[in-house]
Symmetry: C2
Subunit: 199 residues, 2 copies
């Protein structure tokens, strides 16, 4: 399953440029220039510009979904599932900030049927979160009465990270993951720390 390395380099260069300027704001000539190539040479390694976008977005959504499923499968405790799932969610949006931002902002640039497929994959990911929160509430481990909105709020909290997080910034990956985990647990109404007081 090893893919040609040049194809991967092109996709990485495209990821950077799509992140900085957007899909329609990036030309094949710019992607090529970043690798000291000419635009037509790119077509020795890919079929179309659109396929680049499809690969980046579908790859990202598929990856975070698999990461989430793997992380939550390793425990039966619903709050621990939540904690591990959210840590994966947050860390994904730090480590793959560029891909994540593209997957969020450039879905409209996807042609059919890829656009519908990505939307379905995202709906599925959201559903995983909604179910997890629902289970936590059903077991009396969380108290929110709006599992749907809580899922949206939690997911969006993580997504936002991709817009401002910088690996060399003042906040470390671990600190951010821990702090945001407390935020998320607060949102669903689960006790997250001993200092929290509830009536």
């Amino acid at each position: 399953m090893t893919e040609p390395s040049r194809a991967r380099e092109i996709r990485e260069a495209a990821t950077e440029l799509f992140y900085e300027r957007g899909y329609h704001g990036t030309s094949m000539r710019e992607i090529a220039a970043r690798l000291n190539m000419r635009a037509p040479s790119l077509y020795n390694h890919l079929n179309s510009k659109q396929q680049l976008l499809v690969d980046i977005i579908e790859g990202d959504v598929a990856l975070i979904t698999r990461e989430f499923e793997d992380a939550t499968a390793t425990t039966d405790d619903v709050i621990e599932k939540f904690r591990r799932g959210f840590e994966v969610h947050v860390r994904h949006h730090m480590r793959y900030a560029h891909e994540s931002k593209i997957a969020m902002t450039e879905v409209a640039a996807l042609e059919e049927p890829a656009q519908s497929q990505v939307k379905e994959m995202r709906r599925h990911y959201t559903e995983l979160w909604r179910t997890l929160i629902e289970n936590a509430v059903a077991e009396g481990r969380a108290s929110t009465q709006s599992t749907n909105l809580a899922a949206y709020a939690i997911i969006d909290m993580g997504i936002g990270i991709a817009r401002w997080f910088r690996p060399d910034g003042p906040v470390s990956e671990g600190t951010l993951a821990g702090t945001y985990c407390d935020f998320a647990l607060s949102v669903i109404g689960a006790d997250s720390s001993p200092t929290r007081s509830r009536t």
Copy 2:
């Protein structure tokens, strides 16, 4: 004095299309077609495509900032300030979902100096939130130890709304505002019960 109503119609049509397809993914011909016009006629009412984007984004960021400042100026209680500010924040991203999404995703398409100016305006808005949360903690009304991250999390929670909220959807504006307000108060570690007391 007759308003330049046509200019406003053009900006509204552009807002819809920039929302659906992005700035670079929208042509002046498409904007014109939505008003049953031809592209060159648009230039009777505007200077450039870029100016359309600048007006939409700067207008949106300026509006939410003013709404926030107005809402928080009407009380001295820091938690009530927070509550009113966040309600404004959430409702803005529902009512102006299209403008807000553009302001979030198309900043890279802004040319200088507009791009720097918008980034500065956003930095200012974030700073308002950070200060508000800091004051709440200083007065013992909130318990978070990460005012910076809490501000990001709360702002991003609201921004996300613009991506999925539909006015004719199953969740009403009031329900969403109320539920999200509880979420936000949980994040900063403030009691979310409706009864509050001045110190």
